[in-house]
Subunit: 336 residues, 2 copies
DNA sequence: ATGAAAGCGCTAACAG
DNA sequence: CTGTTAGCGCTTTCAT
C-alpha cells in the first residue's frame, strides 16, 4: 500500500541506489536520470521513510530542544527563534522539557529520551551544575547552550554582569542612592543568570561608592507575583529605597503593580528598571536592558546545524549577544 | 560500539525476541525472565534504537504539533499543555509551524514533513478552510484540533460566540450603549474565532436592541500594536464609544494604552473588555472572558493519545471548554 | 513461554 | 554514472 523506493526504482527503470542518490542530491548522478527519478517519485507521491533512512544511515535528522518551561515569554521566544531556523533546514525539532525547580515538576532524566533520537541538542537556560545538563553533555552529541556558557561547549548568551550593571548604573546616574535589588533565584537554585546579575549590580554600586543594604535585597523568583511580593516587602520597610533593579522584566512588572497599589507611581516616587526587553515592557513603560531573545535561539540553532554538518568537530563558538538599555517612564530622578 | 538488542539477548541468555517482549512489557514472558532481561539491559546501558523499532513496527512514536506561531501567549501556553501530557507518555513531540498570514511567513506545505514521521497530529488555531489543515487532514492520521471544530474530527475549543456575548453583555449591563468592537482578523483571514466572536457581539447587541454602528468596528489584527492603533482610530472619531469589546486581551492591552495616551482612563471614560484571561490581564486590571488555554492543550493531547491507542477509530470527541467572565477595573458604568 | 527467521525501507560500500 | 549486495536494529509471525 505504501510506496517504497523500490517501486520508484522500478517505475523509473533504475536501481534503488540511484533513486536514493538522485533524490538526496548526491553527486555522480546524470542530470537526466536525476530529473526522471524526481519526476517519477513526485508523480507517485513517494515519501521517503524516515525510520528506514535513519536506521540505514545512522543519522536521525532531528535535533532536541530542552527547556525547563515552554510557556513563558523568554522560553517561547527563544523557541520560536530556534524553530525559524530549523524550519528552513530539513531537521525535525523534538521538544523536551526538564523538571523546573520553580514549578516543582518531577524531574525524570532526559538523556534516555534523547539518546538515539537526535543528532544534536539545544538547551535553554540550564545551569552548568544542573545534573540534567551534565547527563545531556555526557551523551557526546553536538550541543548548543542558550543563556549560559560552559568551557568547551558552544553557547549563546548575554553578558549578564554587564546588563545588570547597565541597569543599575542608569539608576545611579539618575541620582538614586538607596537602590534595592529584586533577585530571581530561589535558594539553592542552579541557574547562573541571577548570580551574574547580582555581581553586575554590586559592581555598579561599588564603583559609585554606594552602600549595599542587605535589607534591600529580596527574592522575586522570576515571576510577576514574586516581583509584586518582593516589592511589597520593600515598601513596607521603614527606610524605603528610591529605586529598584529587578533581574527580569516580569518581576519588574509585579513590582510596578505593588508600587501602584501603594498609591505611588513608578518613575515618580520609585524608579524601576528590569532586564529582558519583554514584549510588554513598552506597553508598561518599563525601563529595561533588552536582550535579543529570539536571536539567541536563531544563533544557537545555526551554530548547532553547522556543528552537525561539519565532519571535524569545530572549535566551540561562544557567542555573546549584545544588550542595550532602553530608558522609559519607570525610571527618573528621585523625588525632590 | 553501540550496544544492540542482540548483545542484551546474548548477555541474558535469551533470544532477541524475548528481549523485545520483555522490555516492552508484552505478555507471555515469564516474570523471572523479564526481570533478568531488564536488569541486564539496564546494566549494559542499553537504549532501544527508535529508528529500528519504528521501521520494524510501523509506529513512529511521535506526534506532530502544528502551530502558526510558537511565540505568543496563547500558542506557547497551549503548547505547554500539550507538552505536559506527552512528557508523561513515551511519545515524542515534533514541533512544526505553518506560515502565518499575519506575519507573512512563507508557507511551505507541512504535510510532507509529517507524512511518515508521526502517529498523530495536533493543530493549533488552524481554520477549517486553511489549505494546510486540509492537506494535514488528508493524511488520514489521528488528529486533534485546538481552537476550532470540524465535523468528524476531534477538537477542543471554546464557545466563541458565547464568550464574545458574555463580554459584550457585561458592558451593556453596565449601562453602555455605544459599544465598539476591535476585531481580530485581517481581511480574508481564515481563522474562525473572529467570525464567531463577532457573531456573539452582534447577538448581545441585538438582544439589547442596541444599534451596531459600522464606524465602531475596527481591526486590531490580534496584536497589541494593532489594538492600540484601532483604539486610537476610535478615539479620534467625533462620536466616541463609551465601551469597547476587544476580541483578544492583547488587543485590549493596546487599546488601554491608547486610551491612556489620550489622557483618559480605562474604566472611567472608556470601558474595555477582552477575551483570553491572559497572564497579564490581572496585572493590567483588564476585564476579560477567560479561557483555560493550557487545558485546551492538555485535553487535545489526551484525546489524541487515546485515538492513537485504540484500534478501532473511536467517534471523534468535540470538547467545548468552559469560559468565565472576570470583571476587573477596566470596565465600569459609563460616566454620568 | 521462548526461539528462528523473515522482513521493515533505506543507505553505503564495492564493483563495474 | 549506475547496479549489486549487505546490512542498519528491531518486531513479528510461526513454530516449538
Amino acid at each position: 500500500m505504501t510506496i517504497t523506493i523500490r517501486d520508484v526504482a522500478q517505475a523509473a527503470g533504475v536501481s534503488t541506489a540511484t533513486v536514493s542518490r538522485a533524490l538526496r542530491g548526491l553527486p555522480n548522478v546524470d542530470e537526466a536520470t536525476r530529473d526522471k527519478v524526481k519526476r517519477v517519485a513526485l508523480s507517485m507521491d513517494y515519501v521517503i521513510s524516515p525510520s528506514a533512512s535513519r536506521l540505514a544511515s545512522g543519522r536521525t535528522g532531528s535535533i532536541g530542544v530542552i527547556t525547563p518551561r515552554v510557556a513563558g515569554w523568554y522560553f517561547s521566544t527563544v523557541l520560536s527563534g530556534i524553530e525559524t531556523v530549523l524550519q528552513q533546514s530539513t531537521m525535525d525539532l523534538l521538544l523536551l522539557s526538564v523538571g523546573d525547580e520553580a514549578t516543582g515538576t518531577p524531574d525524570d532524566p532526559v538523556a534516555p529520551r534523547l539518546n538515539r533520537r537526535v543528532d544534536g541538542v539545544i538547551t535553554i537556560a540550564l545551569a552548568p551544575e544542573d545534573a540534567q545538563l551534565q547527563s545531556v553533555l555526557s551523551l557526546g552529541l553536538p550541543t548548543s547552550l542558550i543563556g549560559v556558557a560552559i568551557d568547551g561547549v558552544s553557547s549563546v548568551s548575554i553578558d549578564d554582569v554587564a546588563a545588570a550593571k547597565a541597569a543599575t548604573t542608569h539608576l545611579i546616574k539618575l541620582g538614586h542612592r538607596r537602590i534595592a535589588v529584586i533577585t530571581g533565584a530561589p535558594p539553592g537554585a542552579l541557574f547562573t543568570a541571577p548570580h551574574a546579575r547580582f555581581r553586575g549590580f554590586m559592581e555598579a554600586m561599588q564603583q559609585a561608592d554606594l552602600a549595599v543594604d542587605p535589607t534591600l535585597q529580596v527574592r522575586g523568583y522570576f515571576t510577576i507575583a514574586g516581583g509584586e511580593k518582593a516589592m511589597t516587602e520593600l515598601l513596607t520597610q521603614r527606610d524605603r529605597p528610591t529605586a529598584v533593579f529587578a533581574m527580569s522584566d516580569e518581576m519588574a512588572f509585579g513590582a510596578m503593580r505593588a508600587v501602584r497599589s501603594h498609591g505611588l507611581q513608578p518613575g515618580r516616587e520609585i524608579s524601576i528598571a528590569g532586564i529582558d526587553g519583554h514584549d510588554m515592557s513598552e506597553l508598561l513603560d518599563l525601563t529595561t536592558v533588552a536582550q535579543p531573545v529570539q536571536d539567541l535561539g536563531r544563533i544557537a540553532a545555526k551554530s548547532l546545524l553547522s556543528q552537525i554538518r561539519s565532519t571535524d568537530r569545530p572549535a566551540p563558538a561562544q557567542v555573546q549577544a549584545p544588550t542595550h538599555l532602553i530608558v522609559r517612564g519607570s525610571s527618573a530622578p528621585p523625588p525632590n
